[in-house]
């Protein structure tokens, strides 16, 4: 997991894509995978009842659980739904880019994410910093800001600061408002100063929170720095291999960890239908397949006749 990268990535992406991207769907996509599940990972107490996942890492990133929200096909699926609702492809692919950025970023910790779910529930992990969500929010924060996680976030803090142009009022007016229908709609009800403040809110949140947690972890508390790969090693970590092994005890490769063949088949058909660029039924897809073969055959015969 990342504590500030998900707030700052949208600004960096915005800098590089300009008017080709809509900021609000991009930001929502960047937050989407953790939007509904993170509270249950750390747990909350309501009216004396504690609500918390029995196995937080499994729930957060695995299957069964909410780990499917960290898969690339999930982003595509929600993007398609957004396209059906708004009929705006910029909104749809902006969400997909934001969600993919989140899912790929989360492969940096020791648990990783199920990037290719539902085709496989294998957790892809780089393992650069420790996943310690099961220890609770405070220890997790201390561990994250003591290992390579805070360095990763620091890269995005610096990168976002270098992208300062996207934070200016002129850029917001000329580029962000032009590309994103949300701001044009909101501009009818609130002042531009308010809109600009809301647009900058995630940048503010990411940079300020990164600074505050860093001070809290090493000045207020005394968590020890450990910048080794997969660290800090003083915290109990969860590994992708543990969760992958629980799903497929015989073999840990991506193929053996795959879901039931039927689900994989349905997913493959859905991808084929999407690649074909049709919203019609799969039956139409199958009907047209022989015609294509005939055309190809004709094309191949033509040069032979000339000879």
């Amino acid at each position: 997991m990342s504590w500030a990268a998900h707030d700052l990535e949208p600004y960096v992406i915005q800098k590089h894509l300009g008017r080709k991207i809509a900021f609000v769907p991009l930001l929502v996509g960047s937050y989407a995978p953790d939007l509904m599940s993170k509270w249950f990972v750390y747990g909350v107490t309501l009216v004396g009842v504690e609500l918390k996942a029995d196995e937080p890492a499994q729930f957060h990133r695995g299957w069964p659980g909410a780990g499917f929200t960290h898969s690339l096909p999930f982003g595509v699926l929600v993007g398609l739904l957004l396209y059906l609702v708004f009929r705006n492809k910029v909104v749809a692919y902006s969400f997909v880019i934001g969600q993919w950025a989140h899912a790929i970023t989360d492969t940096g910790d020791t648990v990783g994410s199920m990037l290719l779910f539902p085709f496989t529930d294998h957790l892809f992990s780089v393992g650069a910093w420790a996943y310690a969500g099961q220890t609770g929010r405070y220890v997790d924060a201390g561990a994250y800001f003591s290992g390579l996680g805070f360095v990763w976030d620091g890269i995005f803090v610096v990168w976002a600061l270098f992208s300062w142009r996207v934070l200016t009022r002129g850029y917001f007016r000329t580029t962000v408002m032009a590309a994103d229908p949300f701001w044009r709609w909101a501009g009818r009800y609130v002042s531009e100063t308010m809109l600009v403040a809301l647009y900058r809110a995630s940048f503010f949140y990411g940079v300020a929170r990164w600074t505050a947690w860093l001070i809290w972890a090493h000045v207020v508390r005394s968590f020890a720095f450990d910048l080794r790969w997969g660290g800090p090693r003083w915290v109990p970590r969860v590994y992708a291999d543990d969760l992958n092994a629980a799903g497929a005890p015989a073999c840990r490769c991506a193929g053996c960890c795959s879901m039931t063949p039927r689900l994989g088949f349905y997913g493959l058909v859905a991808v084929c239908a999407f690649a074909k660029g049709r919203t019609a039924s799969v039956r139409d897809l199958v009907r047209e397949a022989p015609k294509r073969r005939r055309r190809r055959g004709r094309r191949l015969r033509l040069p032979l006749k000339r000879d």
């Binding site: 707030d7 300009g18 008017r19 937050y31 929010r137 405070y138 924060a141 300062w164 142009r165 996207v166 200016t168 009022r169 002129g170 850029y171 917001f172 007016r173 000329t174 580029t175 002042s191 100063t193 308010m194 403040a197 809301l198 900058r200 809110a201 995630s202 503010f204 949140y205 940079v207 300020a208 929170r209 600074t211 505050a212 947690w213 001070i215 809290w216 000045v219 207020v220």
Partner: protein
């Protein structure tokens, strides 16, 4: 800043007009065009960091002060750092609502 100083792909926009206090010496002189022009890029952002700071240093100072306050409160009570909604609300309060209220009070007094 003259139009000749502007590089290719940039345009000049009006960023400020000089304000004259009533009763000042300048008031007695004939009115002149007093518009400050600044080059901007096609995406609407200023051409350089210097231009951006000269235009909006007050706004930047307000945001930095707000950020320092957020960090201070957050270090003292980390629950303040938990959610985006609290941060956005705090930001809007500090950079939109409070300046608006203070400006209104000043106008009434003035």
């Amino acid at each position: 800043m003259s139009p000749a100083d502007v590089s290719q792909g940039q345009t000049l926009v009006r960023i400020a007009t000089s304000a004259r206090r009533p009763g000042s010496r300048a008031d007695a002189e004939p009115p002149q065009a007093a518009v400050i022009l600044a080059p901007v890029r096609p995406d609407g952002s200023p051409s350089s960091l210097r231009e951006a700071l000269s235009d909006g240093w007050r706004e930047l100072a307000l945001y930095v002060a707000t950020g320092v306050g957020y960090v201070a409160i957050g270090v003292a009570a980390v629950e303040f750092l938990f959610t985006w909604v609290v941060a956005a609300g705090y930001l809007v309060l500090c950079v939109v609502v409070l300046p608006f209220v203070v400006g209104g009070i000043r106008e009434r007094r003035g």
